[in-house]
């Protein structure tokens, strides 16, 4: 059971750590400090400085396009890209060296729930900051807090076009003629809270888009700008917000609180958790119990996640899900356990070849989901001929780049899979002609790609 739980709620087994004992061991982690923080995330000030410098370099190049300004812009672009690659390095290090990386798995789930992209390039350094500061601190906290942190984060405000939306009758709207943008309001209702089957209409989308005006972000961060906000009240799901004479951020806070505790949100989140962690077709009773715990706890993700981990209906479906490429690569790195300094030393080019491009070939370009609904869940979406060929290619060729002293495949099959290893995989590990091929076969095995 421990190996199955480790595959589901962590990145599988590691030669360095024993997995937590049973569901209780994983549940205990929810109440403890996040062990991943031993490996620090992005430096906010440095990221903002890099983005500011990049925007300035773009401006200078526009004004005076010559070899020097072009070079300066390229260098500034590279400097801001560092924060994306640093995010990958940290993810690899945490996957390999955190004793039980539950917070990382949960962060990836919620990151996908609140999908943003690293394009356009000017906002890319905001994305790792959103993961680190808006999502990760709340994965075992209150859903409402995560929702608010994300909806006011520059990465989301820029990705879904809220940062530049303006109330048409606000002072800025009157002066500039700019107006509303429905994008963020629609996705908050459809994807982040109520779900597409939730009880909202086009009119609620419109009203929420009006209420969201004033949420602004630029390269230095989030700001609420009342002079961009549409005057007057808005009615969302039958509740009036913003009746006062002046637009207040507290009205947006209030609508997000109400959306976070809506029963449709509880059901939507319950379904997503069950589909992601348990099965593409989860038992409706499991969804009902998760939704119930979400409502009863007022969206306390510590409580809801504990119900998920402990639920008897989850216990007989181990292996029902395919790991997505990110989950797969991180599991591979955890099993290989390269030293942390080897992972820190990976150059951007190394990461392109070992992570970025393989992820794309497997169908999950890093932080570039095809839309704000994130990545698909179904096994069939990932275990395609082209997707599996890319996994096999990575399994055969990449491990030796993570550690030159590859382990003996006959031991590796046990450290990587333990009791999950099939007889066929054990036999393949023994029969392989070379170490690299034996490792590649173990990492290609169905039981290593499933959870």
């Amino acid at each position: 059971m421990s190996a199955q739980l480790a595959a589901r709620y962590g990145y599988g087994l590691s030669p360095q750590f024993d997995p937590p004992a049973g569901a209780a061991g994983w549940i205990d982690l929810l109440g403890a400090a996040d062990p991943g923080l031993a490996f620090p995330g992005p430096d906010r000030e440095a990221a903002i400085d890099a983005m500011t410098a990049f925007l300035e370099a773009i401006r200078l190049e526009r004004r005076n396009n010559n070899a020097a300004t072009r070079r300066a812009r390229r260098n500034a672009s590279r400097a801001s890209l560092r924060f994306v690659f640093d995010g990958v390095r940290t993810a690899l290090i945490r996957a390999a060296h955190v004793p039980a990386p539950l917070h990382d798995r949960l962060t990836e789930f919620w990151q996908d729930h609140f999908t943003v992209e690293v394009t356009p390039v000017r906002l890319r350094a905001w994305v790792p900051l959103m993961t680190a500061n808006a999502i990760r601190p709340h994965v075992a906290g209150r859903f409402a807090d995560m929702l608010k942190a994300v909806v006011t984060h520059p990465a989301m405000l820029l990705y879904l076009d809220q940062a530049t939306a303006v109330g048409p009758n606000s002072p800025v709207g009157q002066r500039t003629g700019r107006g509303l943008n429905e994008n963020l309001a629609r996705e908050v209702l459809e994807l982040h809270t109520l779900g597409v089957d939730g009880p909202y209409t086009q009119d609620d989308v419109r009203q929420l888009a009006e209420l969201f005006t004033g949420l602004h972000a630029d390269h230095s961060g989030f700001r609420f700008r009342p002079n961009m906000a549409e005057p007057g009240y808005e009615t969302v799901l039958g509740v009036r917000y913003g009746a006062g004479p002046r637009a207040r951020f507290s009205d947006i806070d209030a609508v997000l609180d109400d959306l976070a505790r809506h029963p449709a949100t509880a059901l939507h989140i319950a379904r997503k958790l069950a589909v992601h962690f348990i099965s593409d077709q989860p038992d409706p009773r499991l969804i009902a119990d998760l939704a119930h715990s979400f409502r009863d706890s007022d969206g306390d993700l510590n409580v809801v996640t504990a119900v998920l981990i402990d639920h008897p209906l989850g216990q007989d479906s181990f292996g029902a899900k395919a790991k997505r490429p990110m989950d797969y690569i991180l599991s591979g790195v955890r099993a290989l356990a390269p030293p942390a300094d080897r992972l820190t030393a990976l150059s951007n080019t190394d990461l392109r070849n070992l992570f970025d491009r393989p992820m794309q070939a497997m169908g999950q370009t890093y932080r570039r989901a095809p839309g704000p609904d994130g990545w698909p869940e179904a096994t069939e979406a990932w275990i395609t001929p082209q997707g599996l060929a890319a996994r096999i290619g990575w399994a055969m060729a990449a491990p030796v780049a993570f550690r030159r002293d590859l382990p003996d495949p006959r031991e590796f099959v046990t450290t990587a899979l333990g009791p999950l290893a099939s007889e066929a995989t054990k036999l393949a590990a023994r029969a392989a002609e070379t170490r690299w091929e034996g490792i590649g076969l173990v990492l290609s095995a169905p039981e290593f790609n499933r959870r």
């Binding site: 700019r178 839309g371 082209q386 055969m396 393949a428 392989a432 002609e433």
Partner: protein
């Protein structure tokens, strides 16, 4: 146990493995007919009015003050102007190989969700079918009507296998840069470890077959070689998702046994600064279509290409020089088999009273109806099959005579 003995063990297992060998013999039976059919799914909601708009329409000028002024486009036909990014396709228009249905939609109404909208476009069903029941796509169901269809008859191209081609019937899927290089030993052992898992077994068999028939597999014998081959494939990963690579791959397949191909283009969700975004997306679409034409050579004459999107966008521009999710939109059709150089369907107008919910272009036709007639023209399906199986519930109505045949 010594490795060699184990290998013998594996070989001895050959008898039981024969029940599910990792390679299936690919047969190249004569495929049904000559027609080629390509569907390009435009994900994100293409702004039909940005592609093709009525000229000198005061309503439109009022609702799109910036977008219209900045991209007037040159006249195409019947008082409509075409976005200048599609000017490279004007030669097709002149040759009667390009057409538009400017006011169509799927039956999807209500929440204006990309994801439900795309599901419905690809499932080919109506609102009467619950979203959970949308299993499988219409291009796949259509294969049931093609006697002699093989897995290579229909090809999904790209990193994802789109819903439109998933379902009961076997299809092929591959991404242009993907390779599969194995030592003979690894191949044998992979057969062994996948034998017990039907999903992995099927994907791996297809991968091995395809990589061989596409000439993108080599038998390797060292780690260095393995790494070199992976490096080569990865080098091409970036461009693999580009329109030219996807279309080139499609054309190569369609010149062989493949009759139906589908791939997706993204970048249509232009909520903000649409002038730049739509231009880029249309450039890519134009490039895909011209690459198909050039790559297909003489086969282009037998080809119909449909470029379809989940919905159109608001008639009025929003506060950020973009447009929000709407309903009615444009389908682009191309190909030598097409009776092109014209617009299909009825134009609803964009006066406020003509709009759907006072915001969207009113669709005057079901996009599935045109797709169904194009299928009928290409493969000779009967009406009942199209109305009941491929697009359950669609009313084929009068023949728009889309194809030259």
């Amino acid at each position: 146990m010594h490795r060699r003995d184990i290998l013998k063990g594996v070989t001895a297992l050959g008898c039981s493995l024969a029940a599910h060998p990792l390679t299936t013999t690919m047969t190249f039976a004569s495929v049904p007919g000559d027609a080629r059919f390509v569907v390009i799914v435009l994900r994100g909601g293409m702004d039909g009015l940005g592609v093709l708009h009525p000229m000198n329409d005061p309503n439109l000028a009022r609702m799109r003050p910036v977008l219209l002024r900045e991209n007037a486009g040159d006249p195409l036909t019947d008082g409509f102007a075409l976005h200048s990014a599609l000017d490279p396709l004007r030669t097709l228009w002149a040759a009667g190989e390009l057409a538009f249905a400017p006011a169509v939609s799927t039956p999807y109404r209500g929440q204006r969700s990309h994801f439900d909208g795309q599901d419905m476009l690809e499932a080919g069903t109506g609102m009467d079918v619950a979203p959970d029941a949308l299993r499988g796509g219409w291009l796949n169901r259509m294969l049931s009507g093609l006697p002699g269809a093989e897995s290579e008859t229909a090809f999904a191209i790209g990193h994802e296998v789109p819903l439109i081609l998933t379902g009961q019937n076997a299809i092929s899927s591959w991404s242009p840069e993907t390779r599969l290089d194995l030592t003979p030993q690894a191949r044998l052992l992979l057969e062994h470890i996948y034998a017990g898992d039907p999903v992995f077994h099927a994907a791996a068999s297809n991968a091995i077959d395809l990589a061989e028939s596409l000439g993108v597999s080599t038998q390797i014998d060292s780690l260095g070689e393995q790494q070199m081959m992976m490096g080569e494939a990865l080098e091409d990963t970036r461009s693999a998702a580009g329109p030219a690579k996807l279309a080139e791959f499609a054309a190569n397949r369609l010149r062989e046994e493949t009759r139906i191909a589908s791939f997706s283009l993204t970048g249509w969700d232009t909520h903000r600064n649409q002038l730049g975004g739509l231009r880029t997306a249309l450039d890519r679409l134009g490039q895909a279509i011209l690459t198909l034409r050039d790559g297909l050579g003489p086969v282009w004459e037998k080809t119909t290409v449909l470029a379809m999107t989940e919905f159109g966008r608001t008639v009025a521009e929003n506060g950020n020089r973009g447009t929000d999710h709407g309903t009615g939109g444009t389908m682009l059709m191309a190909g030598g088999a097409l009776r092109g150089g014209k617009l299909y369907g009825t134009w609803p107008g964009v006066a406020e009273a003509d709009l759907l919910e006072r915001r969207d272009l009113q669709p005057t036709d079901d996009v599935r109806r045109f797709a169904a007639w194009a299928l009928r023209g290409s493969f000779g399906f009967d009406r009942a099959f199209l109305e009941q199986t491929v697009f359950p519930g669609v009313d084929l109505g009068e023949d728009p005579n889309l194809l030259r045949v």
